[in-house]
Symmetry: C2
Subunit: 130 residues, 2 copies
């Protein structure tokens, strides 16, 4: 089973990773930890280094539990939602796990555009973790 | 593990039920199959009987696989999204599984209001199945 986790280092992403580990153990899966940056002028070198270090930490925590794991830092001009869906299609994924951030009172009636994009366009099951 | 499935007899709901069975087997879970109707003047007797028969069929298919299962037909004036979230809170659920319907080309950039409500307001992880 191929499990993709969208990982940006946030608390929601950490919760998503925890669910991914649980599923990987239960279904004998491999976890693909994905960090997506748009690139170009959107992020600076510092943002990229920070994202890379978050990603490496996440991957290490997966490997420490003996779960097969791959690390992917994608910087190819796509919004994260698009990027994750494209990666899932290219790798024939079975499951995408994403963190859903608790919004402020005003925003909480609209799901973030990336989460919405992933759920609508994913070729597979999507797990939304709080 | 308490797994809630929103079930309306659609193909998407059947896919959701299939994922629920897989998770119940892996995590030693109980499946709560939920059908929600608004009631009042919204549905006629025929709609209710049809929903009930769909629900019973689904529950039978779960029981046939030896998975503990409960059947709940809720008609309490709530929209299905609200109803499922309320039930999940009342029963301290661990996971909600819903089917996400593929929309027409025009509609496909907006997630259905019930799915969106569930993902945003659920007290637990939400699995969206195509």
């Amino acid at each position: 089973m191929k499990i993709i986790v969208g990982y940006d280092g946030s608390d929601a992403a950490k919760s998503a990773l925890a669910v991914a580990k649980k599923h990987a153990k239960a279904f004998d899966g491999t976890i693909y930890v994905l960090t997506s940056l748009v690139g170009g002028t959107r992020e600076g070198v510092e943002d990229i280094l920070k994202a890379k270090s978050n990603l490496e930490e996440a991957v290490k925590s997966v490997q420490n539990e003996g779960i097969p794991c791959e690390e992917h830092l994608l910087i190819r001009g796509m919004e994260p939602g698009q990027d994750i869906v494209q990666f899932a299609k290219d790798h024939d994924a079975d499951e995408i796990i994403i963190g859903v951030i608790k919004k402020s009172k005003v925003e909480k009636f609209l799901l973030g555009s990336n989460a919405q994009y992933v759920i609508l366009h994913a070729p597979c099951t999507v797990v939304a973790v709080k």
